[in-house]
Structures are given as structure tokens and as C-alpha cells.
């Protein structure tokens, strides 16, 4: 069985393309890219490289991706996604995370799923897939990207990545460089920071000003019941 799965994964990984990311473009989805997906479209292999290096710079690391390395990766090779019909034919389902990436992305995804599920898929699947030492080294860099994405989400990601306009103004020397950086970063959604007051619903702000419930109810009751003022 293991041999058939390895052959199947190799068959998928033999499909290549020049455009990185999901087959139809758009945002890539996988745990690797944080909960909201990659947040940007990889239109060129360079974009993918910039995305990875932005995150790796946090760990003083760097990676390089060549266009010819891009292969179709399923990114969710796990026992739950394989099916065998009564004739013994093997099927692979759930292509939601698939896209064109270097092959070590597939290997990383397999290793990641094994870690999450806490069990191994057959005997040494990654070795059976014939991972080269270079690919094994790249697995570690992807783990760093994953660690970065799980650590910095939402506001913090953008705080770390995008230089603020004020910062840009201060460095007049490398204006062009920063412009370039900004256009590169333009694809990443920036989230607007809002103050606490704006985040609170109006009711929560007015809550302390309200007449306490007991007094309110008592006054209603007093109005309804006959008293010296309406008898």
C-alpha cells in the first residue's frame, strides 16, 4: 500500500507550472499560511520567495525558490483523504489546499499532518518519497514560516512586516527601496487599527448610565398601582 501511495504522490508532484500558488490563483489555504490563508496572491515565484523571506527574516534566515522547482502539491496527503473502491483502485480527495509549490512543501505538509495526528503514515513515507538532503534542510525553514504565522497573526503580522509611513519619511536615502518594498507588501491586507471605544458597542458604553433595574421596575409598578397621585 505504501508503495502505491508513494507512486501516487510522485505522480502528482511530477506536474509542473511556472505560476506558484493555487491552480486558479488567489489566496492559498493551509495551516502553513495561518488561519486566514496566505493573505496574498502569488503571481510570480518571486512573490512567494518574498513572502517566505519576510517571515524568515525574523529568524535571520533566507530561502531561494527557482521557477523550475514548482510542482503540484496536494498539501493534505493523509490517510483520511485516500479511498479504495471495491475494485482496489486508489483515490485521492480534498484538493482544497493544493497548489504549485516546491516539492518540499508537500513533504513538509506530510510531516506536519503526522505531527498533528500523532501517528506515522506507513514506514518512513518521506524517505520513500526520495527526499534529497537539500529538501530535508528546507523542511526546517518551512517550520520557521509556520511558527512565525502561528505566532504573529492579525495586527502583529502587519506591524512587523509593513513599515509605517513615518518610518519611510525618516529614511530619505533609500526611498526607492522602500517604495519597492511597499509595492511588494501591497498585496498583504493591512488591518486598520481601531480604538477601544470604537470596538465597544454603544450599549456597553451607556451601561453605567442606566437606571438600575430594581428602581426601574419599582417605578413602573408605582405608576401602575393606585397611589396618592392618581387615586
Amino acid at each position: 500500500m505504501s508503495i502505491r501511495v508513494v507512486a501516487a504522490v510522485n505522480a502528482i508532484n511530477s506536474i509542473s507550472s511556472k505560476d506558484p500558488g493555487p491552480v486558479s490563483g488567489g489566496v492559498a489555504h493551509h495551516s502553513l499560511w495561518s488561519e486566514n490563508g496566505s493573505g496574498m496572491t502569488f503571481r510570480h515565484v518571486h512573490h512567494l520567495e518574498v513572502y517566505l523571506n519576510q517571515r524568515l527574516s525574523f529568524f535571520q534566515r533566507e530561502t531561494h525558490i527557482r521557477e523550475e522547482d514548482l510542482r503540484l502539491c496536494h498539501m493534505d496527503v493523509a490517510p483520511r483523504n485516500f479511498m479504495i473502491d471495491p475494485q482496489g483502485r486508489l483515490y485521492l480527495l480534498d484538493w482544497a489546499t493544493a497548489g504549485f509549490f516546491p516539492r518540499y512543501f508537500e513533504l513538509w505538509a506530510i510531516e506536519f499532518t503526522q505531527t498533528v495526528l500523532g501517528k506515522s503514515f506507513g514506514p518512513e513515507m518521506i524517505q520513500n518519497l526520495g527526499a534529497t538532503p537539500e529538501e530535508m534542510a528546507e523542511l526546517e525553514t518551512l517550520t520557521l514560516v509556520y511558527r512565525y504565522n502561528s505566532r504573529f497573526t492579525g495586527y502583529e503580522t502587519n506591524k512587523h512586516l509593513s513599515p509605517s509611513p513615518r518610518e519611510l519619511k525618516n529614511n530619505d536615502d533609500d526611498d526607492d527601496e522602500n517604495d519597492q518594498k511597499l509595492t511588494k507588501l501591497g498585496d498583504i491586507k493591512t488591518t486598520k487599527q481601531i480604538s477601544l471605544w470604537q470596538a465597544l458597542p454603544i450599549r456597553a458604553i451607556l451601561q453605567p448610565l442606566r437606571i438600575p433595574r430594581a428602581i426601574r421596575l419599582a417605578s413602573y409598578r408605582a405608576l401602575r398601582e393606585p397611589g396618592p397621585w392618581n387615586s
Binding site: 507512486a7 506536474i15 486558479s24 490563483g25 488567489g26 492559498a28 485521492l92 480527495l93 480534498d94
Partner: protein, 117 residues
Amino acid sequence: MDTLPFTDDDIVHLCQHYRVLQLPLLSHELSGRRVVRLSDGIIVKFGLGVTQQEASAQQLASKHVDRDVLRIPQVYRFFERPDSLFWKAGCRGSDPGADGLGATRNVHTRRRGCERD
């Protein structure tokens, strides 16, 4: 275009009422992305998070991978319905749609109850 015996509206209807129509649910009951068998050899995957990316990847792979090595279900149709109940309820989500055949947004909504004093 595919030659399926269903229009998009048919599929939307079948997805919305699969429970009443007693169509077999192949996915997990609580899953956001549900898989329902419409007829022999035709299934629909629908719900939030079913994306064009998934449909096109599956289509490409099923075209290029040798069928003796690995089989991948062929994608017949993909479409999105942003105007279903889910959308009207004001819920936001990632791209809706489906593969396998077609899709709707998940119609099972939870309305926000009015707060009372």
C-alpha cells in the same frame, strides 16, 4: 459545459433540502463542507470554504495523473451562490462554492436573537 441532468438551481435546491429529500450525506454531519450524493456517480460538495482553487486543482490533477496510478474524481461544475440565506443573514466567510458538481452557500443559519431588557 458539462452534460449533467441538473441546472444550477436544481443543485441549490437539492443541497438546501437534502435532509428532507433523503439524499445520502457522505461527509460528517457537523462538517461545514458537506458532500451529498445526487445520483449514481454524481456528488456535490458545498458550503463555505469550498473554493474555485480546490475545483481547478482537482480538475487539473484528474486530467494529468495516470488513472492506473491514482484516480481523482473529475470535476463537472463549479459555481457560487452568494445570494443564499447564509449571505442574507449577514454572515461573512471565505469564498463559497463547490466542486464535484456545484454548490451553494451553507443555508443553515443562526440568527442573532434580539436582546431584551
